[in-house]
Symmetry: D2
Subunit: 491 residues, 4 copies
Amino acid sequence: MITHYSSTDLDDHFHDECGLCGVWNQSEASNYVYLGLHALQHRGQESAGIVSWGRGEQHGGAGSLFHHRAMGHVNEIFTQPVLEELPGSGAIGHVRYSTAGESHLKNAQPFVVDYHSGQLAVAHNGNLVNAKTVRKELELKGSLFRSTSDTEVILHLVSRSREKTTEDRIIDAMSRLEGAYSLLFLEPGRMIALRDPHGVRPLCFGKVGESWVVASESTSLSLLGGTLIRDVEPGEMLIFDTDHSEPRSLQVFPKQGNGHCIFEHVYFAKPDSVIDGHTVYESRRRMGMQLARESGVPADVVIPVPDSGVPASIGFAEEAGLMFQMGMVRSHYIGRTFIEPSQRVRNFGVKLKLLPVKDVIQGKRVVVIDDSIVRGTTSKKIVDMVWAAGATEVHMRISSPPTVSPCYYGIDTPRQQELLANRFSIDEIREYIGATSLAYLSLEGMIQSIGIDGKEFCHACFSGNYPIDVTDLEYSDDPQLSIFSALNNTK
Amino acid sequence: MITHYSSTDLDDHFHDECGLCGVWNQSEASNYVYLGLHALQHRGQESAGIVSWGRGEQHGGAGSLFHHRAMGHVNEIFTQPVLEELPGSGAIGHVRYSTAGESHLKNAQPFVVDYHSGQLAVAHNGNLVNAKTVRKELELKGSLFRSTSDTEVILHLVSRSREKTTEDRIIDAMSRLEGAYSLLFLEPGRMIALRDPHGVRPLCFGKVGESWVVASESTSLSLLGGTLIRDVEPGEMLIFDTDHSEPRSLQVFPKQGNGHCIFEHVYFAKPDSVIDGHTVYESRRRMGMQLARESGVPADVVIPVPDSGVPASIGFAEEAGLMFQMGMVRSHYIGRTFIEPSQRVRNFGVKLKLLPVKDVIQGKRVVVIDDSIVRGTTSKKIVDMVWAAGATEVHMRISSPPTVSPCYYGIDTPRQQELLANRFSIDEIREYIGATSLAYLSLEGMIQSIGIDGKEFCHACFSGNYPIDVTDLEYSDDPQLSIFSALNNTK
Amino acid sequence: MITHYSSTDLDDHFHDECGLCGVWNQSEASNYVYLGLHALQHRGQESAGIVSWGRGEQHGGAGSLFHHRAMGHVNEIFTQPVLEELPGSGAIGHVRYSTAGESHLKNAQPFVVDYHSGQLAVAHNGNLVNAKTVRKELELKGSLFRSTSDTEVILHLVSRSREKTTEDRIIDAMSRLEGAYSLLFLEPGRMIALRDPHGVRPLCFGKVGESWVVASESTSLSLLGGTLIRDVEPGEMLIFDTDHSEPRSLQVFPKQGNGHCIFEHVYFAKPDSVIDGHTVYESRRRMGMQLARESGVPADVVIPVPDSGVPASIGFAEEAGLMFQMGMVRSHYIGRTFIEPSQRVRNFGVKLKLLPVKDVIQGKRVVVIDDSIVRGTTSKKIVDMVWAAGATEVHMRISSPPTVSPCYYGIDTPRQQELLANRFSIDEIREYIGATSLAYLSLEGMIQSIGIDGKEFCHACFSGNYPIDVTDLEYSDDPQLSIFSALNNTK
Amino acid sequence: MITHYSSTDLDDHFHDECGLCGVWNQSEASNYVYLGLHALQHRGQESAGIVSWGRGEQHGGAGSLFHHRAMGHVNEIFTQPVLEELPGSGAIGHVRYSTAGESHLKNAQPFVVDYHSGQLAVAHNGNLVNAKTVRKELELKGSLFRSTSDTEVILHLVSRSREKTTEDRIIDAMSRLEGAYSLLFLEPGRMIALRDPHGVRPLCFGKVGESWVVASESTSLSLLGGTLIRDVEPGEMLIFDTDHSEPRSLQVFPKQGNGHCIFEHVYFAKPDSVIDGHTVYESRRRMGMQLARESGVPADVVIPVPDSGVPASIGFAEEAGLMFQMGMVRSHYIGRTFIEPSQRVRNFGVKLKLLPVKDVIQGKRVVVIDDSIVRGTTSKKIVDMVWAAGATEVHMRISSPPTVSPCYYGIDTPRQQELLANRFSIDEIREYIGATSLAYLSLEGMIQSIGIDGKEFCHACFSGNYPIDVTDLEYSDDPQLSIFSALNNTK
């Protein structure tokens, strides 16, 4: 196992989880993107933005891009008057979550720039692992940077490319960059989608009537009443323009497809989404069933940590022949734990978010199902709460393996020293959280539950095996990083 | 069955659902009330207020009341700086929901007034049924009114009472008023709780360390880490003051106890709350079991309309031996359907709130469990969504009887003509919503599931039998109201 | 000299300066009131409110009152969307300034209440001197108070009056109250103006086309392009209703007319206003001329403290045959000194507000003209600034007599101990502010300059002679107040 | 006369008037800049920004730049909490006014970027006349633009320069650019000021204790209690760094000094400022005296259009031996006419801003003094108002020559067709505004009044003689522009 240094230690800038939605050939494109982003709100709650392409009288010829970005939730930002300022038949949007220090508007996407060929907007989900290196080179050539986001590097490379078309300039730019990227570009007359060759972050597309929708998850299509066609393939570019009624597909980079993020299936994606051909809810339910097979225990009731633990709990109870009950009630007026920026809020959130149903728990042997243990503080509080409600035994079951390594490809994970599983044995963790017993799902069991060949996944957060080298780290002066880099190279 | 005219037709003013929390003998009383109100946020999301009693240097003697009220959610309104302006060891708070036209700050509670004996604050959950009549009388005597709320009448009566103590003035005032009321009063040095003799709206109390907490539901005590002692009895007054370490209990009105709102158990209260000695979650689960016994149907899967339908679904699946699955996923970034003010938002809310998990539904005979059908528009959209997700049969099961009559005691119900069950047969409703079959839980079955003698309940919304006469209606000139009044009198 | 205790010592509540505007028979009444209040913004910058009377379809018969009040400036509060919510052909408005502790929205006017005869709104400029006494009596009869304003007492008395018409109820109410009051009432179908028998605060009326306008100062009429008819007479009531094209005038109280506030002429009113038949600008210019006659001095240039000192400076220079120059430049982005609530802001304001024009001052013997010295801190800073700009002599001339006593009739004056002239001789003040010489205008000279019989004025702030007894003070337990009261009685 | 096409026709982007303030060697640098900008608020009211250089523990070595920009007034934007986030001993700030369409935050200054040598901030007053041309070239080399401001071009050129030091890179960049620029740069450890070789926009510096202040006008120094040293010379660079206690001065471009903006003296600068060695107030007073000599007229009173016409009126009255009076009163709660973005607001502003003092005007022959006539609409309303107040004659006198040409060097002037003097004779204008007589000050008289050699001034707005060629226009396809360009080249 290699990575002893978390993303946050190394670099405050990169490492956001985000959501994308693009709509083409739809007279109310920005309204559609607004709804599509609403369905993706779980992927980023700190800022949101939409760029539309409109052709008004005042904008002859190809028309102009209109944009609005702000801090906050989609439905707070995009009121009707704001959406009316985003006219046109094509639009792309972005929701973003970032670490606390960098929740600045200047990093909110989509980015829009003017360059020699006019206006260009981009929205990015993922993280580029050589962006800092390339940024240094570009700065030496005179490029100015306005954000601390890796995404800005893409725009500079596109602008400096000598290729003739926007598509070719994008390909040229991305051939210089490595890492995880699902991208949406918008310029007057054209929308372009691109997914990295490893296929790390999800991206799919489909139709709503005659309109095309590209989104991070199929839940956006579902909300819009559309039909999922398929995932955008790793290394595939889709070009939507005014000259073609169908998108043109180009395999611009050889498909490697060895980097699909397994954590999307475990935790991040919405249960109703279909990712890599598999419904997330069903995968999670099967993880619960597998967990029951691997680590069953005599008990009276199975209760989930709502809401993310619900499908696995149902599966666990089903397989174990135990009663499933909602033993904890969730407040609906507080956001998701994982996604709030400061530790202080996370603690407060636990107290305000979950309350036990005593009748379900009192005098019972209880199995509690959660999807992961990160720092352990939340789990400890939940176990305490279950004991306090009168449980006679509290068996904690986790529907994923221990989280041991940080993610460099776009999910914000805590500092290494806060990753409990990295420092302590399972029994030490059990003791820390105060449970009668504790078991995690095996890596093999998890992969099997999803039903996709394990080689297609990135499961570095559970295994420490990184499918894409992290170039940026080699430029650090930190001696620890040199070690890391050395180790990384021998991988 | 009597009431053909909804509350909204008769009177725009009254008819809010609300939540109360009072804290006594606690140095951070307003912080505690804030947390207690957070747990009651489901009872009212339009406005919130807190009044505290503090003794600063600048306020010699008995000290002063401090107050803050605003439109919005509890955690938006009560930021730390605001709470710091609410010092003192006693505080009461209120969350409020009202119909659209009356969501004005002037009606937000608690109300605070100056009168001959100093300052007095009141927070009220419920609805007084002779408030308009008494208001007219008071106006003729020269009283000025600032709000359209029935609660203001209470303060005028207290102020005009010739009794010597605040307790006696309150008793004097409430002996003039009829209807549903759970009340909290605060004055310098004293907090008083009072529940109407019918016990319509819930009210309970308990301890957190040495502090006393009175709240609409026990979930507030649970969040604060306290212990529920018992419900405040119908007709009971509890007096908390600086001279006694325990509250004094007075049975100020003979307990009738024939009006406990059954709808709190079916829909309104939080599942973890204990009301009338019964945990709401368990009652709802048993309603689901009873529903399975009454109206079972061959099927492949049972899915709830989240979140309120979940406990009944679990019970239904358990009793019917069917698989329970979360076949619909709820967005967490939108509030509760029932509780938003405008019809427009309600419709939009349905589209943005629930998305189907196709794999769970496709090719299956599906039982969908909801707690009620009000207008039918939401149910229709849900059934459509389940069909669209590929169900082969859609069996709608409702864990309460048909809603046929409006509530006059404090829950906002739609206009009579929008109450589907009042105008159509069950089969017509089934056809309207497009389900394969439709069944409601019987009134008897529902009462049995809760496990309390049916005579203790008000189930007027299901039966049309109103335990308290509605005086105000007799003053209307509307001929329809005269008819209503006549009918009502023969009840 | 009598009053050793300032208003602020005695009572935080009362004592605001305010402005009123009412418009009748104008389809855009609230827009007119908005403009009228804009012209009166100098009379109160802390809150503003408008009440209109509209007859929509939804409000059959007499129609309803619509209202909006908020903290802030008129043009910030009354945006176009807000004004559109204030329909109707009659409207009254109010701007308000109060001492810091009581700048609460609950005290913002106009007040609107429901009582036995429907809705009633009131706006008040002035201060009632027996309001606390009457309030106590009303509280003992059961009246509830929501504000700390003396104005609320008026509404209670109107509501309790047994008279048949609104006019008579108002007369009945005001016959119980003493002090300074210019009042505007609005109810469906009627607007009523009333000025106290002493005529303390100004009130005038006029026409704009077919519409009637009542306002604190004629500047509102001027802005609206209307014609001033005359002042409302002391003790006169004007009734505007839908049955008469002209207002009806009733002399409801015998005119005493011995209380016209002289400070309106010196400082408070706008220079373009015509008050008591005299243009304020001209009176101030003549005060400057008289000051030159009384206290001329050899000098090179006369400069005003802008803007209130400008007319007197022009007069002084004219009479003395000296050069007038704008030797200090005022920043336009800061409000008026006198009218900001906190001492801290006042100090900061001086630094940010005035800057010297060195070329005008350097090497010159300078006469600086201001309208008053209150605490002396501002004057000291101004004199320092003039010295620093290179003056060889700095002669301070004040266009009013020394301010020695607080106002009880509606102008917020500083605490007695902060009134420099009350504690120090003129020469001590001169030394404190650091001027070469200092002179004030004589009381006789000031009265003469305005050109009205001195008996008609209240000049208590300069003379300590109060035309109306201050009843409220006699009820205080404060021993100092007893002394005051005794002294006051011997007056 | 050449320019028939206004700046607004040609280019929406450039053409702002702005104000700058930089402070060095002062522990509360951002507080000082805040105060300095407050004194410059008249130069730009649409947005403001401050960048500071601080060295916290978290920012080892050279420290970091901190910045805040927002739309609005200086004192609204820079509250105490905001200023506390701008630590450090060096800071630069900017206030900005722009045409309506471009009042976007993205164009608010100072701009801050990251480039190969770290962070760099810039604030700019003036307008570059070949920025569009250079921008096109830069875009072709791959530069990305985020704003529509000409200032962004400067940063790109600095970033692309191959020079070794920041100073040299700035010189390199500015040698490519032409037009009007007063610039402040800030990087960790250094503040740099630079004024263009023509000296179009003002820039001066001085000391406050041991701290250095650079500002657009000396009024900032005056507010801060500092001492003006001198203007920054045309073509001079001043470098403030941590290694030197005094700024180093470099004459980086040969001083031409033929472009000092005469309009600063006439209208834009504050009267207390000293520009080009002359106090603005005195220059304006002498313009009034000269105007009286050139165009005297028998009259009874001279009144200014406040506030900008006051000094000239005083001079006119003095020279003509006429009485000076403030015949119009200005509302203090509305901003400056010239500086508001939309025509609609400008019209409304006139109505709300000025009211006549009838007693001063009635029955008199009145001379009204204003500093300029731009569109004529305001003048017409003022003349109407004076007639309506009872004047028997209204003689309009303008203390500058007719405005016939737009400004390309940083002052926003109206479209050519709205410049009255460009289309009509003086007598036609007189008829349009409805005055008895109308006269302008001669160009020679104006120059003489200031007392500087006329060759040093740019007076293109009055004469059409542009000291700097406007390169950008030659790239337009507009045939009218070609004509313009041709004409321009023959200049």
